[in-house]
């Protein structure tokens, strides 16, 4: 039983790491990405190839996987963000790059194409995940509460005003993209060493969608919100043994409902804290505005 629960928690934490990165990108910087699964895949393959073919140390491989994700993020971000593409063109461009990466992964000899890479060492376990997750959340929190994070928030709120506050829009967005790509890459490396087998078809838009849904549902402008949402998204369907397909139907519907009725999501611009929980409690039980 514990085996099963720890498995669910492990999977949840892997996605939390990637989602925290995406939360910084979409939730705090206001950019929409349709292809973050690509960075996840890059991290997974880089780490796996390093440990499998070259016998690298697991932790070094993980770090390099994250860096690979970040590097690809930089390469993709530099031209597209420099061109000051509007939000929807940028999203379509990320879709394009995601596709290109998928085609690449299916055709490079070292990745063994669509067949995938089996037999990866299973070095990811709960303690490792807990450490990585804490580290990533800590870094994201520090970023948000620093001048660099505030610049991203300003860009999201009103990029015209942000520029008038001395914020370099291009650099701010690029930083955010590279950080989120790094997080996705790190999560990918952990993923590869957890399932011990990866193939390109595992990194689909399903994964990108789930991450985006968690950020939106958890609340843009919050880190704890997407963390909670990710754990719920992974945990509840497992508990209910709901089939994958209906999960996606629910995600899609949820995205629309949240946009229409509660765009700030669960946490919306706030973090989970004792004060917040107390105010919810007061509202629920005393039935009035706290």
């Amino acid at each position: 039983m514990w085996q099963y629960v720890s498995g669910v928690i492990s999977l949840g934490l892997i996605y939390v790491i990637a989602t925290v990165g995406l939360a910084v990108f979409t939730g705090f910087t206001g950019l929409f990405s349709l292809g973050h699964a690509a960075f996840f895949a890059i991290g997974a393959y880089t780490a796996a190839i390093l440990t499998y073919f070259y016998g690298f140390n697991f932790y070094v491989a993980l770090a390099l996987g994250g860096c690979a994700g970040g590097l690809v993020g930089f390469l993709i971000g530099y031209p597209t963000l420099k061109a000051k593409l509007r939000t929807d063109y940028f999203a379509i461009a990320t879709l394009g790059f995601g596709e290109a990466i998928r085609v690449l992964l299916e055709n490079l000899p070292i990745t063994q194409g669509a067949r995938g890479l089996p037999g990866i060492r299973g070095e990811t376990n709960l303690p490792v995940l807990l450490v990585c997750t804490t580290l990533v959340i800590w870094m994201a929190w520090n970023l948000i509460h620093s001048r660099h994070g505030r610049a991203c928030i300003a860009i999201r709120e009103d990029f015209v005003a942000a520029e008038m506050m001395g914020v370099n829009i291009f650099i701010g967005r690029l930083r955010s993209l590279v950080f989120s790509a790094f997080c996705a890459g790190l999560a990918g490396g952990l993923f590869a060493h957890y399932f011990c087998f990866i193939q390109p078809s595992m990194f689909t838009s399903y994964m990108s969608t789930q991450m985006t849904a968690a950020v939106v549902a958890g609340g843009m402008g919050s880190i704890s919100g997407p963390v909670i949402a990710t754990l719920i998204f992974i945990g509840i369907p497992e508990a209910l043994r709901v089939a994958n397909i209906w999960r996606l139907v629910a995600y899609g519907l949820m995205l629309v409902l949240i946009m229409v009725f509660r765009p700030q999501g669960l946490m919306g611009y706030q973090e989970l804290s004792l004060g917040l929980v107390k105010s919810w409690y007061r509202r629920l039980w005393k039935g009035g505005r706290a």
Partner: protein, 267 residues
């Protein structure tokens, strides 16, 4: 240089011209704003005043001419760079960071001159923590200078219009500019509110000795605050002079102020 008592102007506009396709929004605009001066930029709607601001802040590129800040050309520089060189502006339609608190709006402005590294941010080194404390204290100081210190935790868009305008000004002050551009700060205010605002701008000017360029339609505010006034019409210069001269200039009266214009009450 010995014998040279004139300091260089903070802002120098030299034959500034901006064309958008077939339309000439600004033509050969030339004026100086001296150190510590409050200068008014007035004229009917569509005269090119906000375009001039956008040209100064780098949002639009110049078609011809040059703009100098304290003697150094800023033509063609990126807007965020120009801000860091020392120009702050407020917007005609308030552009606050609405979802953020009043305090955070000012903090972001203060970030402009901070230099601690990204890697230090990620690890939240002690140096960063010290800077952050200092920034937050300074932000409270700027809020106090416009009288908003007790609203620090309020959401920016939850405040009444008049206070939002004050926050815009506080934000601009926090950028520690050499030149302050105010774009219709009294827009949408009734006479009482505008006089209140004018008093605030006067106080701030005295406190910070800030060189200011002001676009405004409320003539009482303009005449009360501005030592010199530059009048634009159809993108070109119509007149330039002291407040007194402008009020009696027949061209200005005809084109804009109206023949029956009387001097505003003292503030």
């Amino acid at each position: 240089m010995i014998g040279d008592t004139e300091a260089s102007p903070v802002l120098a506009m030299r034959e500034v011209t901006k064309r958008f396709g077939g339309i000439t929004a600004c033509k050969d605009i030339t004026f100086d704003v001296a150190q510590g001066q409050v200068m008014g930029l007035i004229g009917p709607n569509g005269a090119g005043k906000t375009t001039a601001f956008n040209l100064i802040t780098g949002v639009y590129g110049l078609t011809e001419g040059a703009i100098l800040l304290e003697g150094k050309a800023i033509t063609g520089k990126r807007p965020d760079l120009i801000v860091r060189l020392g120009i702050a502006r407020t917007f005609q339609n308030i552009r606050l960071f609405r979802n953020l608190s009043v305090l955070d709006n000012v903090v972001i402005a203060l970030d402009c001159h901070e230099t601690y590294l990204l890697t230090s941010s990620f690890m939240r080194l002690p140096g960063v923590r010290r800077r952050e404390r200092a920034i937050h204290e300074q932000a409270m100081f700027f809020l106090a200078s416009v009288g908003l210190e007790d609203k620090a935790a309020t959401r920016a868009d939850a405040m009444p219009y008049g206070l939002q305008r004050k926050l815009e000004i506080a934000r601009a002050l926090a950028l520690k500019p050499r030149l302050l551009l105010l774009d219709e700060p009294a827009a949408g205010m009734n006479p009482e509110e505008s006089l209140d605002l004018a008093r605030l701008i006067r106080t701030i000017h005295e406190q910070f000795k800030l060189t200011t360029l002001l676009i405004e339609h409320h003539m009482d505010v303009v005449m009360a605050l501005c030592e010199r006034i530059f009048v634009m019409n159809f993108g070109e210069k119509l007149a330039e002079g002291s407040a007194d001269e402008i009020q009696h200039d027949p061209d200005v009266l005809k084109a804009y102020l109206g023949e029956g214009f009387k001097r505003a009450q003292h503030i």
